[in-house]
């Protein structure tokens, strides 16, 4: 455990709250001090829920600790049951209450409450929110289905003749990423194949719905961080298969259609037949994204450096879209979901980068700064980081801000989701920087190195960052920033050009081979290169110099490198 100012995930009892709040007729009694009731605001403010979460807090105070806190639990459980009349009761404790060891779950189980009471043991000091949500859903589903599990080895009955195939959608929750709209999109997609959605859980489900889960033919594991544990158990206990593809992006949506068609035993051809992978044109897909990605106006997207950090599900899917559909270069891929670290590492290997698995946002910030991306796809925290670094950003995953819960229909799954992603990723990028326009307007008075993209004006550095003792010439701020991408890095990157190379090289000596330094002439020549490609030219030249053992980069090296890479 590590002290931090901000975390990607809350404690596991917040995950349990997400499950309870997503459902109907479920109530959660949380043994927690008054202060822990702050979590209500996540639901009413960020998700804009119109009611408080169905959570009763025991709200013990300091003076209760000398007395009988266990009594507080039984009173709270009884009151909550009588007032809310839930069909299932979750009972657990927050991080603070875990320390006083009242075992509220066991207490409540012994009270003779006439509905299923599910005790939750969520170790707050070693586990996090998504795990807590997954564990809560698993225990709730398991408790509600306990007496319906067939004897091990019982073959699954075949679908009755004439009944349409059925699927459950597992995993959507409140405070997830666009779950509400994804459910609608995926339901529509399955409808095209003649597959009915039987139960959606936990979002909008009551305990009565959960009991109907085994009546479907298979499960769609829509958000594995929340639903994989449950989907796995339903497969072991009821022989229900579950999907492995996340339908995010055009390609993955097509793969998803093939997978569900196979699981449901229906023909995918009527739907997939209309999809023509690799063909340019509006008619090549139900989604407009494939054509938009290929249209001539999108040429500037090609090779854009993109850094992705999100929950594992959205990170892996976004990397595939970025690399295979948008034509971006993935320069960083990571997640805070340790449970799925393996899958993210696997994906990162495909794009030739090393996965960043961490829940420390400062580490993420450093990695983004070092990768000098042109676009960051991430969470609310990456939005802050990108803003600080002056890089474009789109949010693709929780944790989110209120603006990521839009009023309009805005899924990220399915064909419409692909459209939404195209728009939201492209808009933050500076449009209109096509080469021919740059040539035309090169000498324009409004178009110079110092000009900032209008949508990033707020973060345009008017002077070098406080820590940067570098005397960047006025009007060069934007140029230097593009070079280094981050004000903090001006010191290390720009210094060799203006100070004694030997002195500048000294601090870097401990970090392996000494990087090549730029001579003033080389630096001068570099500035002649238009700023939007200067970063790339600088990186290429430095790589070329390092490869050829050149310690000082002059004008010649710059052109040698250009010739080398231009071949």
């Amino acid at each position: 455990m590590q002290l931090t100012l901000w975390t990607y995930e809350g404690p596991p009892h917040v995950g349990a709250m997400r499950i309870a709040t997503s459902m109907r007729d479920v109530h959660y009694v949380l043994h927690a001090p008054q202060g822990d009731t702050y979590a209500d605001l996540l639901f009413t403010m960020i998700e804009r829920q119109d009611a408080r979460p169905p959570v009763t807090y025991t709200t013990f105070q300091a003076r209760d600790l000398g007395g009988d806190t266990a009594n507080l639990v039984t009173t709270a459980v009884r009151d909550a049951f009588e007032r809310f009349k839930p069909k299932a009761l979750l009972v657990g404790e927050s991080c603070t209450a875990e320390l006083i060891q009242d075992q509220p779950g066991s207490l409540a189980q012994g009270m003779g409450i006439p509905v299923p009471v599910v005790p939750l043991e969520l170790p707050a000091y070693s586990k996090k929110e998504n795990w807590g949500a997954a564990e809560t859903l698993y225990h709730l589903v398991k408790a509600l289905l306990a007496d319906r599990v067939p004897k091990p080895g019982t073959p699954r009955p075949a679908r009755p003749e004439g009944r349409r195939p059925r699927a459950n959608l597992l995993g959507p929750t409140v405070l997830g990423f666009r779950c509400r709209d994804d459910v609608r999109e995926v339901t529509q997609l399955l409808g095209q194949l003649g597959i009915d959605v039987h139960v959606v859980a936990p979002l909008g489900a009551s305990p009565d719905d959960v009991v109907r889960i085994p009546e479907a033919d298979f499960n769609v594991d829509l958000y594995p961080e929340v639903s994989r544990t449950t989907a796995g158990w339903l497969q072991r206990a009821f022989g229900m298969p579950y999907t492995k593809t996340i339908p995010m992006g055009t390609g993955a949506t097509r793969d998803f259609i093939a997978e569900v068609a196979q699981l449901a035993g229906v023909d995918a051809a009527p739907v997939l037949g209309r999809e023509r992978p690799g063909v340019a044109g509006l008619a090549s897909s139900q989604s407009r994204a494939p054509w938009y990605q290929r249209s001539v106006d999108s040429t500037y997207l090609t090779g854009k450096r993109v850094f992705i950090f999100a929950d594992a599900t959205h990170a892996i899917a976004a990397a595939r879209i970025a690399a295979q559909e948008m034509g971006f270069t993935v320069v960083g891929l990571g997640t805070y979901s340790r449970e799925f670290a393996r899958e993210v590492r696997e994906a990162a290997r495909q794009y030739g980068v090393e996965a960043l698995i961490t829940d420390d946002y400062l580490e993420v910030e450093a990695a983004i700064a070092a990768a000098t991306p042109e676009l960051v796809l991430g969470t609310q925290m990456e939005r802050h980081i990108a803003k600080r670094l002056g890089v474009a950003c789109a949010v693709i995953s929780v944790p989110i801000h209120v603006q990521d819960v839009p009023a309009r229909y805005s899924p990220v799954y399915g064909f419409e989701g692909a459209n939404v992603l195209f728009d939201t990723w492209v808009h933050p990028l500076v449009m209109g920087l096509e080469e021919h326009l740059l040539q035309m307007f090169r000498e324009d008075f409004e178009f110079h190195d110092g000009a900032v993209p209008s949508h990033l004006a707020a973060v345009a550095p008017s002077a070098p960052a406080a820590g940067g003792a570098v005397s960047a010439p006025a009007g060069e701020a934007e140029g230097v920033r593009t070079l280094a991408s981050v004000p903090q890095l001006q010191v290390t990157v720009a210094m060799p050009a203006v100070t004694d190379p030997a002195a500048a090289a000294a601090p870097a000596a401990s970090a392996g081979p000494v990087p090549p330094v730029w001579t003033p002439e080389g630096e001068q020549e570099l500035r002649k290169i238009p700023f939007f490609v200067r970063g790339k030219a600088k990186r290429n030249t430095e790589a070329y110099a390092a490869q050829h053992g050149i310690a000082r980069i002059g004008v010649d090296t710059l052109y040698d490198a250009k010739a080398h890479f231009g071949r």
């Binding site: 320390l99 060891q101 075992q103 043991e121 707050a124 072991r236 340790r338 449970e339 698995i357």
Partner: protein, 299 residues
């Protein structure tokens, strides 16, 4: 790390000799499954007994999990036919981020579907074996493995009396003590009984009975059992087939079914069936060291 305070139950102020027993973290409690811990002097045949007992349970249609708690991690190799990596080895590969692990990383299928885990442990003379057993149980619980298991067998290390020795006692319903018909292993058994008795003040663990291993006669064992209130649940002769089964890396159930071998198989099956049917906990009472000498020492 989860911090837990000890619960002190007023009715149970009997931790003995002024010591305060730290109670088991309830998140580590194993529910549902029948949990058996196999104890005995070093080299007496605990791993052989555990593996064959696991195999016997599986032959009776039970879902079995065997947890080897010895740092030398050879408990399950007759089941898996290999030296499987230990939980600690595997935790090291993920820098102790247990969340990254999947069940198949540390649970290996063995003979007749017996699930095998080697807890592993620190190098001899360092660290804490009890910590390793605790971590292993936590991991198995977190992956819901114990909820889908009927019988859990802990094969405990015999060489030392330490945390690694005591930790399985906190999870077990019954202890089986493996002994031979000789003074040394009976002497060790006596000390194990004392340890179980101390633990049973706070935990559900009870002495299940004695497995007389590698012995033709039972006279010495019987003499001790009568004095200490123990009972022989199974008697395995000193048969070369058992030794050969280990060399062949297999359980007794995979050996050529000669009459000898079948008799041994039946003995393990009988023991397994008895444990399923329910063993009456024995009111065991350890003898003082001097008493054992007087009882068995010099005849």
């Amino acid at each position: 790390m989860t911090m837990k305070l000890p619960i002190v139950d007023a009715d149970r102020v009997g931790d003995g000799d002024g010591s305060l027993q730290v109670h088991l973290d309830p998140s580590q409690k194993i529910e549902g499954a029948l949990v058996i811990a196999v104890y005995g002097k070093g080299g007496i045949g605990k791993s052989t007994t555990s593996s064959n007992l696991s195999a016997a349970f599986s032959r009776l249609g039970k879902r079995v999990l065997q947890i080897g708690c010895d740092p030398k991690h050879d408990s399950t190799f007759t089941l898996t036919k290999q030296m499987v990596p230990t939980v600690i080895d595997i935790l090291e590969t993920v820098d102790f981020h247990a969340e990254e692990l999947k069940v198949e990383d540390f649970v290996f299928p063995g003979y007749n579907g017996v699930q095998c885990v080697e807890a592993g442990g620190p190098p001899a003379g360092t660290g804490c074996g009890g910590y390793v057993v605790g971590q292993t149980v936590k991991l198995l619980k977190e992956h819901h493995l114990l909820e889908e298991t009927d019988v859990v067998i802990f094969d405990v290390l015999g060489d030392v009396v330490c945390g690694g020795f005591a930790a399985p006692l906190q999870h077990a319903h019954y202890c089986l003590i493996v002994t031979a018909n000789d003074f040394d292993s009976i002497f060790a058994m006596n000390r194990i009984v004392a340890a179980i008795l101390a633990k049973s003040k706070n935990y559900k663990v009870r002495v299940g009975g004695v497995v007389a291993n590698r012995s033709k006669d039972l006279d010495q064992v019987t003499k001790f059992n009568d004095a200490a209130g123990l009972k022989v649940l199974a008697h395995l002769p000193d048969n070369d087939a058992i030794r050969r089964s280990r060399l062949k890396k297999c359980t007794m159930f995979e050996m050529e079914p000669t009459p000898d071998v079948v008799a041994i198989q039946d003995e393990y099956l009988k023991l397994a069936q008895a444990m399923i049917d329910g063993v009456t906990p024995l009111p065991a009472k350890p003898l003082k060291d001097r008493e054992i000498f007087d009882l068995l020492g010099f005849d």
